[in-house]
């Protein structure tokens, strides 16, 4: 519970810094989304055992992090739970798939271990790409870009509402948690009964608050579509960005910079 304030402030810091890097205004969000998708698809088309050709994707992302000056610690903090989930998925591979893939002297690496590390790297690259996209572009411009890319309006609006509702939910949860703690007299245990009350109160309070927010939106003409500044004109620099990105992806996928290591193995 004590982490709720930290989570709220982190979400807010992403909102504030949705341009930590200055990239927010310099690259068209549509271009960012498309390049991110192409980047990920190009990586995912490699074989699950192809760890050598996955590593350049990790290096590329690390370079992007340095260029955009997004702190690596921020990425790690935000991706740790998802990475644990990826780890859970990958952990069974070394147990199931024990056939030897590489033999260097007496040292043997099984296909299971290869796919284990590849899945971890792929997970890291996918999560980091998504985080860089959100942090550098901002959630709302991203949603508007998705709309521009023909994602149904109803889905985009739902995404925006979910985003808004998560913040409301966290704020209310933080308030209830503080109220419970302030009268807990140092009793650190949250009993099941207390959890039940907490969840019930949370649902009631967030529902009421969401209703007020909805009223406020309707009062200002909301008709089911969230209209934001659609400053998404495709500029020359966006074309330039996309060409460079596609060239890099081409090198990663077709030229394969670490291909020679693959041949050695």
């Amino acid at each position: 519970m004590k982490n709720l304030e930290i989570i709220i402030s982190e979400i807010r810091s992403v909102e504030t810094n949705a341009g930590i890097t200055g990239t927010k205004t310099s690259v068209n969000p549509c271009g960012s989304i498309l390049i991110s998708i192409i980047f990920l698809v190009s990586m995912l088309t490699f074989s699950i055992y192809d760890i050598v050709n996955t590593i350049p994707y990790v290096i590329t992302l690390l370079i992007v992090l340095i260029i955009t000056s997004i702190p690596f610690s921020l990425i790690l903090r935000k991706s740790k739970y998802l990475l644990l989930f990826v780890l859970f998925i990958a952990i069974f591979n070394p147990i199931i798939d024990r056939n030897t893939a590489i033999e260097i002297g007496s040292f043997k690496i099984s296909y299971g271990w290869l796919s284990f590390f590849t899945i971890l790297l792929r997970g890291f690259v996918s999560i980091t790409t998504a985080l860089i996209l959100v942090i550098s572009t901002g959630f709302i411009p991203l949603c508007k870009a998705l709309e521009k890319l023909r994602l149904p309006n109803i889905l985009v609006t739902q995404l925006l509402f979910v985003y808004r509702y998560i913040i409301v939910l966290l704020e209310e949860a933080s308030q209830i948690s503080n109220a419970i703690k302030s009268r807990g007299y140092g009793n650190k245990k949250f009993t099941i009964k207390l959890y039940a009350i907490f969840i019930a109160q949370l649902i009631i309070k967030t529902y009421t608050r969401a209703e007020m927010i909805n009223m406020s939106m309707i009062s200002r003409g909301f008709d089911g579509e969230i209209r934001t500044r659609s400053d998404m004109k495709w500029k020359r620099r966006d074309t330039f960005f996309c060409i460079i990105a596609i060239v890099i992806i081409f090198i990663l996928r077709i030229v394969k910079p670490f291909g020679y290591i693959d041949k050695l193995l």
Partner: protein, 256 residues
């Protein structure tokens, strides 16, 4: 400009579950009037404002705003004409940045981008918060949030302003700024509040509500001098009224 009036006749509103919030309320508010809506918590002030903004619909009687009767069909037109500033600014501000927040209403009105930008700047100027244009809404102080909530409504260029407890949770400095800003508005204003000192300064007329019914509609000063009525509304006589009364009684004593 004489069409910015509000004429409410025999309004009734009962919430689901049977709580009667408004009972047989009628009043007329003319163009440019600043009227205070006073009464205890749960008296029905907020419900009445929601009815006037077409966010709830009266179950009996009618509300005529500038020759338009509030119905579900006219609701969106009414919401353009009547701006509503909610009690809790946190509930009102839902966009990530101040400029997006203020532009929300004008964009929904279908205005072109240039006009939206103009309105954002004008609204920020009206509340003297130009420097907050690109700030993140959740990082603002209580007073700043209230100012931005007002600017967000002003940007829609409403003819009538409804304010629900505008001075609550504000520090004295922010409250003073707010009062000065409201003073400068030429809009027809209805202010639901417990802050009678603010009413003293802003609203020549007050409507007092108790248990969903109007129990007083007249000059604010007369209400403030009527201690019995104030008690009935669970309100306290404002200090300014007390001082004025003391001065008057002193004058009478001196004359004698």
């Amino acid at each position: 400009m004489s069409h910015h009036y509000i004429k409410a006749e025999n309004l009734d509103y009962t919430y689901y579950g049977g709580t009667k919030a408004i009972e047989d309320i009628s009043f007329y508010i003319g163009h440019g009037e600043k009227v205070a809506l006073v009464g205890a918590n749960g008296a029905g002030k907020s419900t009445l404002l929601l009815l006037l903004n077409a966010l709830l619909f009266t179950q009996r009687g009618s509300i005529d705003i500038g020759n338009t009767i509030i119905t579900e069909k006219t609701a969106s037109y009414i919401r353009r004409k009547v701006g509503f500033i909610f009690q809790n600014s946190d509930n009102q501000l839902f966009m990530p940045t101040v400029d997006e927040e203020i532009a929300f209403g004008p964009r929904n009105m279908g205005l072109p981008n240039d006009e939206v930008e103009k309105r954002v700047d004008m609204a920020l100027e009206a509340v003297k918060c130009q420097d907050l244009k690109y700030s993140v809404t959740s990082h603002l102080s209580g007073g700043q949030k209230r100012s931005i909530a007002i600017a967000a409504v002003l940007a829609m260029d409403p003819e009538i302003l409804l304010m629900d407890e505008p001075s609550s949770n504000l520090d004295p400095y922010s409250r003073r700024l707010l009062i000065e800003r409201i003073k400068s508005f030429s809009h027809t204003c209805i202010i639901a509040t417990h802050d009678l000192e603010m009413v003293w300064e802003l609203c020549p007329r007050s409507i007092a509500i108790s248990e969903g019914k109007i129990i007083y509609d007249g000059p604010s000063k007369s209400l403030f001098y009527d201690k019995e009525l104030l008690k009935e509304c669970r309100l306290e006589q404002p200090y300014l009224a007390q001082i004025e009364q003391m001065k008057e009684s002193e004058k009478i004593r001196n004359c004698n």
